[in-house]
């Protein structure tokens, strides 16, 4: 079983890891979501707090927008698979992770030419 975490901003992957206050956690296995995705609202944005949560929750996969090198390296060292600089809706990102073809720097189609309220 793998566990995916995505910092959110509205329906979108939060552009910045350090400023996100809403977190989505999805458990999945063999391309299928297990149970209900869980949303956590953080009291305040904190990149270190988020790192701590990722370690404590045994997260295996992270999809995010911008993330600082320090935290990227820490999480990579903790063997978390990180897809950063991803732009798009979290639904699209989850689908891509489930199908195993999400890469860092991907701009998902849902983000292009849509009117967004961030």
């Amino acid at each position: 079983m793998r566990k995916l975490l995505i910092p959110l901003q509205g329906d979108f992957i939060a552009p910045r890891f350090d400023l996100a206050t809403e977190i989505l956690i999805v458990r999945f296995e063999d391309g299928e979501i297990l149970g209900e995705p869980r949303t956590i609202i953080m009291e305040r944005p904190s990149d270190e707090g988020l790192c701590q949560m990722i370690v404590e929750e045994n997260i295996t996969d992270l999809v995010c927008g911008g993330i600082e090198e320090l935290h990227y390296n820490f999480l990579a060292w903790k063997k978390v698979a990180i897809h950063d600089a991803v732009i798009g809706s979290w639904q699209d990102a989850v689908k891509k992770v489930l199908s195993g073809n999400l890469e860092s720097g991907t701009i998902l189609p849902s983000s292009v030419n849509s009117v967004l309220t961030l």
Binding site: P15, D18, P45, E68, F74, I107, L116, T117
Partner: protein, 465 residues
């Protein structure tokens, strides 16, 4: 409304990362500096909300500032930061201006992320009158160096800075850039000795997606990012031979091909190189290309070691004392006569950097008003080796003097006997780890730190296996 070629020409004339957004805040186009800052190609992000791409923090109110400018028609300027494509937080002044549509309405926005030097406004105290901040020195040898800076700033010729470790080569390079006509463009520093050949090549010249395993996106190299600015190549003497050839070719042609790419990229970059190694000797030993040596060594400045800077030591001691006293919120007012005597007679093989570390150590340790001898690092009382002071070449411009450069000094600060503040902290971590059987959670708790802080410190001190 937006005629692309005209807009792009306009944007390219702005010396900061800039982009045009439509009235729904979607990107119409952006300039090359914004491409470099975000890591996204302009064509890929067309139609994407600007904030998803720029990743700014502006008051954590994304979109609201844009809405405000559209609503009021008045430009706003706020300070903040952006997270760039290299995963670095860069301080910026964020300017958002409305673009009128000719019918009393707003067709879109011009967004400029003006780079703000991180040290802005934090000038050290007693730098020499007229000299750039943090460059301190009244000795004749330093005065000669200071006199050269305006000359070197007013030309685009390559500069080679030599000098022992800790003499301030980086600082001089930055000052030359800041005083030059390129000051509004990027100053990019690359340590040629820090990365293996493949990585350094990619770092300098960039790569295209798929160039090698892990190259999942196009990456603009430092040469491209430094376009119209200055590229500072430090530890140039450690640059691998194969890259020296490519660097020479860039210096000659002003263009290069990114790793795995097919098309050459033209750049306008000024090169400043620095090394503590005897480059001429390396040329003789065939470890540094002669043609590159002469190409870099158009202007040459040699920074004198601290032991040759006469009264500067005292001035630097006072400067760093004030700096660290302020930073640490202490009330240390000076040195006792014996401590001062010890410091003034010490020969500082690590030069200004070592002096700075000694003062930082002493201010940390000092509990009274004055720093006494006992509060200085113990290693400076050990018998010092005979001062190795080879005849230094005089400071010159346009040609290098007979170069019998300084010996490769050992890294200054720490002689391995646990004397600097850093080594004490390192030892503290090692001891705590030992005590807790390597358990990092308990170690962090023991030290009163969070786990991230412990990890950060362990990384800093090379304790992560």
């Amino acid at each position: 409304m937006f005629r692309q070629p005209a807009i792009l020409t306009l944007l390219e004339g702005i010396p900061y990362p800039s982009m045009i957004l439509d009235s729904s805040f979607r990107i119409v186009t952006m300039n090359r500096l914004m491409v470099a800052a975000t890591g996204y190609e302009a064509d890929r992000v067309k139609g994407v909300h600007g904030e998803l791409v720029v990743r700014s923090n502006v008051g954590n109110s994304r979109g609201q500032l844009y809405s405000q400018v559209i609503r009021t028609g008045e430009a706003v300027s706020v300070s903040g930061d952006i997270l760039n494509g290299y995963r670095h937080k860069v301080p910026v002044q964020y300017h958002i201006s409305p673009l009128a549509n000719g019918k009393n309405g707003t067709a879109g926005l011009l967004v400029i992320a003006e780079n703000v030097p991180s040290g802005k406004g934090d000038n050290g105290g007693d730098s020499v009158a007229g000299a750039p901040p943090e460059l301190i020195g009244h000795s004749p040898k330093m005065q000669k160096v200071l006199d050269l800076i305006p000359l070197m700033a007013h030309t685009d010729a390559s500069v080679l800075i030599t000098g022992e470790t800790g003499t301030g080569k980086d600082k001089i390079a930055e000052i030359i850039h800041k005083k030059s006509a390129r000051a509004r463009f990027p100053f990019i520093k690359v340590n040629c000795g820090a990365l293996p050949l493949g990585l350094l090549e990619s770092e300098l010249f960039g790569h295209v997606k798929g160039a090698f395993t892990g190259a999942s996106r196009n990456k603009p190299g430092m040469f491209k990012i430094a376009d119209r600015g200055t590229l500072f190549l430090t530890e140039i003497g450690d640059m691998p031979m194969p890259l020296q050839v490519k660097l020479l070719s860039v210096l000659d042609d002003r263009q290069f091909v990114p790793v795995g790419g097919e098309h050459s990229v033209s750049v306008d970059v000024r090169i400043i190189a620095a090394t503590h190694r005897p480059l001429r000797e390396q040329v003789r030993n065939n470890t540094f290309r002669e043609d590159l040596y002469y190409r870099l060594n158009v202007l040459h400045v040699h920074l004198p070691p601290l032991r040759e800077r006469e009264n500067d030591t005292r001035m630097l001691l006072d400067h760093f004392l004030e700096k660290y006293t302020r930073a640490l919120g202490k009330t240390v007012t000076g040195f006792t006569p014996s401590a001062l005597q010890t410091l003034l007679s010490y020969h500082f093989p690590g030069n200004v950097r070592e002096l700075q570390n000694i003062v930082e150590y002493a201010v940390n340790i000092c509990k009274g008003k004055k720093i006494n001898k006992e509060q200085l690092p113990p290693y400076i009382f050990e018998k010092q080796p005979e001062a190795v002071a080879p005849a230094q070449p005089p400071v010159t411009v346009a040609s290098e003097p007979d170069e019998k450069q300084q010996p490769s000094n050992p890294p200054a600060v720490d002689n391995g006997n646990g004397s600097s503040w850093s080594s004490i902290e390192r030892q503290m971590i090692v001891d705590a780890l030992k005590k807790n059987g390597g358990n990092r959670i308990n170690t962090a708790a023991d030290l009163g730190w969070g786990r991230m802080k412990l990890w950060r410190k362990m990384k800093k001190y090379g304790l992560l296996g």
